[in-house]
Every structure is written in C-alpha cells, then in structure tokens.
Symmetry: C2
Subunit: 208 residues, 2 copies
C-alpha cells in the first residue's frame, strides 16, 4: 500500500471501504457528467456526502483520485479468445457497447476525449488504449492465421468499422430509445459483426 | 436583426465585425478544449482580449453566445449528390473526417457528447443531427433506388460502420501522427468506403 496516497486516518483506524467506494462513485459520475475542466475535490466530496478532508486523507490530488476511481469503477475490456474470429469480434463489440450504454458510459467516452489532457492519466490511458488496440488486432491476426479471414484483410479498416460502429450506435440513438439499448446489445453485436464480415469474407478461401 | 441579442452599443456605433469574430472564435476554442461545464462569458472575454461588457452587449447569455458562435464557425455537413452511391458516401466520410481533424474538431466531438445538456442548444442540435442523419440515409436510399445497392441493405449498419469508422479513425490516431491526418483524409475516405461497400455489394445485381 502506498503510504502517500493511502495513509491511515489520524486516529489510526483503518479506512472505511464504503466511504472509498462512495467517493470513487461520485468522482466517476461527476467526471462523466461535466468532464475534467470542472472536476474538483470539493465537488466530489459534496456529491459523496463526505468532508473534503476525507478525500484528501485518501488521495493527494484530484488527478490521483480520478485515476484510481476510474480503475475501481470501470472494468477493462477483457481479452477474448472464443476459438473463432466471428465469436471474438462479437464479444469485442458487445463489450464496447456495454461500456458505452452502461452506468459509466459518459465517463468512458469522456476518457477517450480528455485523458490526454489530464497529467496523471495521460500515460496510463495511452498504455491502456494501446493494449486494447493490440488485443483487438490480435483477434484479427488469429483469424487470418486460422484461415478464417483472407491474408489481405485490412485490420485497421475492420476495427475502425466495428469499434466506431459501436460508438456511433450508442451516440446516435435518440434519447427516447436509449433506455432500451442495454437489452439490444447482444443482438446488435451479432448482426453488426456479420454485416461487416460479409465483405471481408468475399475473398476468404473458406467461403468459396 | 434580433434587437435582444444584437443591440447596437450604447454610443450608437455599429458593431465591429472583427470583435464579433474574435469572441466567436474564442468561444468555440474554449468549448472544444474544456466543454460546457466550465464554459463562461468571463473566460471567453479573457481569451478574446475584450471586456465582459463587450460580450454581454452582443449576447444575452452564455447559451446564446455558444449557439451563435458554433453556427458562425462550424459549417454544416452539406448535402451531396454526386450521381453514384460510392461518390456520395466518399464525400460524406470525407466531410466528417475534415470536421473531426480540423481546427474545430474538439468542439464538433464535444457537441455530440454535450449538446443535449445545454438548454438553448439541445433542440437546435437535435434538429441538426436529425437532418444530417436523414441526409445520410437519403444517400443510401438513392443508391437502392438506382439499383446500385441491394434492396436488403441495412441503412443503419452501413452508416454506423462509415460514420463511426470516421470518428474512430480520428480519435484513435496517436498524437504523433495526428498532424498528418488532414493530408490523408481523401485517401482514407475512398479506401474505407470501398472496404465497407464490398460486403454490401456481394448480393447486388450489378456486381454479379
């Protein structure tokens, strides 16, 4: 445990994990709603219903608070390896959609837009983003190695279409229909992947 | 001229259009960088190098200022009708990419994320977004009517892939490569549209 960012409180009692969770939830909510430019320890403390001192006791800066809160609340996109390229891509699109339409969707989309301007987050975000892009590219390369996709498949175009399509779907769904999005994620992921794969498979040996 | 939002100044002299432009430019820049939550007349005036009174003389609220500044600075996605569905879609993707990677890219992407939370912008943005979605759908429907695309083409999937792909391309290009993006927009648009269309055209009568 890092003694700078995680001191015990002055009375020597262990930290209350419930307070940690409330502060982290408030931080992710506020960041998702208003973004980094107006993010402050004071606003987070107010929303969490704790004193400012309780936050500073746990985190030395608003950068450190937001970075840890995001790690606590947002699960990573996990590696998938279902055995087929279609199965892997459906899983990838499903996970992206679940992030965008889920409780923390606002924070996820803002991270993509603002992380590079937030000192303590920029590097961590860049390495996370790089890791996710590599994992997605690995899905496509496994598909090529297994002969499911032609060797000429453009990995960049395929992932732009799939990952961008998921984001576009979440962003352009009108407010009135947004509440129903979480239930349609699985169906959309399967049908959208099939739509994009048809073109890639035109030249695939397995499809001829 | 609306007498509430565009009064002459107290001395009766006509407004200086150069000051209008500087204020509008500062407003779009600040919104693009920091977003709505921290947008203020004071910050805009400071950035434009004018007094707060000069801004209030022209716009009665920060909502009205941002709405007009965005209209002044951001061109709309114009309707395209090149005669072929491929030509139209390449133009659409090119225009989207130019917006995202251009001078006001930050403001454009923020608008999609935040417009619905900004009182005077929500309705205007929704109607603009609806109009752009209808124009994009019209491109695809014309292609179906001309027999260029099969009648079974999923308009939603096709536009999610193309419009989302353009956004993903702009957002995921690493900072070091971003300066070169504007020069590659045309090439990317042509090749990406062809990539996505191959799948749609598999069943097209014209392609068999």
């Amino acid at each position: 445990m890092d003694p700078v960012t995680h001191p015990r409180n002055p009375a020597g009692r262990p930290r209350d994990p419930d307070v940690d969770r409330r502060i982290a939830a408030a931080a992710v909510e506020l960041f998702g709603r208003d973004g980094w430019a107006s993010f402050s320890i004071e606003a987070v403390a107010r929303r969490a219903g704790v004193g400012k001192a309780s936050v500073y006791l746990r985190w030395k800066s608003k950068e450190a608070l937001l970075a840890e809160a995001l790690t606590m609340r947002l699960g990573p996109i996990s590696d998938v390896d279902t055995g087929t390229v279609r199965g892997d891509l459906v899983q990838l699109v499903r996970q992206l959609l679940q992030q965008y339409v889920g409780e923390h969707g606002g924070a996820v989309i803002r991270l993509g837009l603002e992380a590079r301007d937030i000192p303590e987050l920029a590097e961590r975000y860049d390495s996370l983003a790089r890791q996710q892009i590599l994992a997605a590219r690995a899905i496509v390369h496994r598909g090529i190695d297994r002969g499911e996709l032609p060797a000429s498949t453009s990995v960049t175009f395929l992932l732009d279409a799939l990952c961008g399509g998921a984001m576009n779907h979440a962003l352009t769904t009108p407010p009135a229909l947004r509440a129903a999005l979480p239930e349609t994620v699985d169906d959309y992921a399967e049908r959208f992947v099939d739509f994009v794969l048809v073109g890639v498979l035109v030249d695939a040996p397995a499809e001829q």
